[in-house]
């Protein structure tokens, strides 16, 4: 029993270290997409992953990455499960993940909007958000596009140092 627990913990540590294909400075644990790693009674490692966005093209690569790392570490039977509920939120990016994003010039997300039950209100007045430039730290920044090179990011620019930067959206 003790061995099983230790083994499950080891499997989890291995799965946690797999890098995200699109934000490779983050591990899957930093990104908050690795939900659970457990060991079945027959020795199968079951790793549960959740997608960030429905159309995230990196999902298949994440599954393959986790399975390959665990097999390399000696786990012969690996099963990857997809978990959709509850849906991923940018709040699950760990403090370490946020620090790594900023170090790589990507502004980390603020708190995700709280979602009350019922119709989602449409707000047409500009939503003021203060995003610090990951390069110079200035708060004098503006959004240039809410969509960017990957689903999870927006494009911003700093009006102080004039550098454009990416920003992980709250969702």
């Amino acid at each position: 029993m003790v061995t099983t627990t230790l083994d499950a913990r080891r499997a989890r540590r291995i799965a946690e270290q797999v890098p995200d294909p699109e934000l490779p400075m983050l591990t899957l644990a930093d990104l908050g997409v690795l939900r659970e790693v457990s060991l079945d009674s027959d020795g199968t490692v079951v790793a549960s992953l959740t997608p960030t966005y429905s159309g995230c093209p990196a999902m298949a690569e994440m599954r393959a990455g986790v399975a390959a790392r665990l097999k390399d570490a000696g786990y012969a039977c690996v099963e990857i499960r997809t978990v959709l509920d509850p849906p991923w939120t940018s709040d699950w990016i760990t403090p370490q993940g946020r620090r790594k994003l900023a170090e790589h010039g990507i502004a980390p997300p603020g708190a995700a909007p709280a979602r009350a039950a019922g119709p989602v209100p449409l707000v047409l007045s500009p939503i003021r958000r203060s995003v610090a430039c990951p390069r110079c730290g200035s708060a004098d920044t503006e959004e240039t596009s809410r969509f960017a090179a990957t689903s999870c990011k927006a494009l911003w620019r700093c009006l102080a140092c004039r550098e454009p930067f990416e920003y992980v959206k709250e969702i």
Partner: protein, 275 residues
């Protein structure tokens, strides 16, 4: 850890170069999800609902992708492509769910590539050609407002898989509706020319609104959003005169078949191909 290094670690175990590059293998996007249909849920109805919602998303994603290299600004091209990608992801999940519950075990490709226009159940609004930027924005606004309201209700569906797909989609659709609404206001309240084109776009989508309001009663909510946007844009609310027929029963405009020919061409010419 340098970026070069982490990319190298990603490529480990992918010596077989058919693996690396997104899209190879196309694993079931619901891989490992509990496939059981709860007691009391009619599997046939559930599958039909999933196909309907997936067809709307797939056809819309194809139209949005047509803007790539043609949008007025690079930022808009990236935005429209991203919105299309979200919808494509929703379509994949919904087709997979349909194949699990309709007893055929069909995968997403069977639905997307190997059905003809008459078998598609998407709304006709989704298949209309892109027109100008104003038309594409107004069409996206109507579609996203309807789909967001519909998905918000589906989060309480008795099928937990459909409810989870909807909960995920709600967050994405809120971004889509916001993008389209802001552009509709900017265009309607912009120059004389952009105002004229946006007004025309609302008139052009009006006959197709009826098809949206069938299965679930989200009509008031969608109309309220359109009223909010047209007021802010200084535009009249479109007068709604429904057209006969419905995409929901497989009656489509002449525009769907050419769209599908482009979408399905490679898969049908090389049905066993992988890349």
């Amino acid at each position: 850890m340098s970026d070069d290094h982490v990319y190298m670690t990603l490529a480990e175990g992918h010596e077989d170069d058919t693996r690396w590059a997104y899209g190879t293998g196309f694993e079931d996007p619901l891989h490992g999800v509990d496939t059981a249909v709860p007691d009391g849920v009619d599997a046939g109805e559930l599958a039909a609902l999933c196909v309907t919602l997936a067809d709307d998303a797939l056809v819309s994603a194809q139209r949005l992708a047509e803007w790539t290299t043609r949008a007025p600004e690079l930022e808009e091209e990236v935005a429209l492509a991203n919105i299309g990608l979200d919808l494509l992801g929703q379509a994949r999940l919904l087709y997979s769910r349909a194949g699990q519950v309709d007893g055929t075990g069909r995968g997403e490709d069977a639905y997307a590539y190997f059905r003809d226009a008459g078998e598609f159940r998407n709304i006709r609004l989704a298949e209309l050609p892109n027109g100008d930027f104003a038309f594409s924005i107004v069409r996206l606004l109507v579609f996203a407002a309807w789909r967001l309201a519909h998905f918000e209700r589906l989060t309480a569906h008795r099928d937990p898989v459909l409810a989870a797909i909807a909960a995920k989609g709600v967050k994405e659709l809120a971004y889509h509706r916001q993008y389209a609404a802001e552009w509709a206001v900017r265009l309607g309240d912009g120059t004389e020319e952009s105002h004229r084109r946006t007004r025309r776009a609302f008139e052009q989508v009006a006959p197709y609104l009826g098809e949206l309001f069938t299965a679930y009663d989200v009509r008031d909510e969608v109309v309220a959003v359109l009223r909010q946007v047209t007021e802010a844009a200084g535009l009249p609310m479109p007068v709604y005169r429904p057209l006969p027929g419905s995409g929901r029963t497989g009656e489509h405009t002449e525009h769907l078949a050419p769209l599908l020919a482009e979408l399905q061409g490679v898969a049908r010419a090389h049905p066993e191909a992988t890349w």
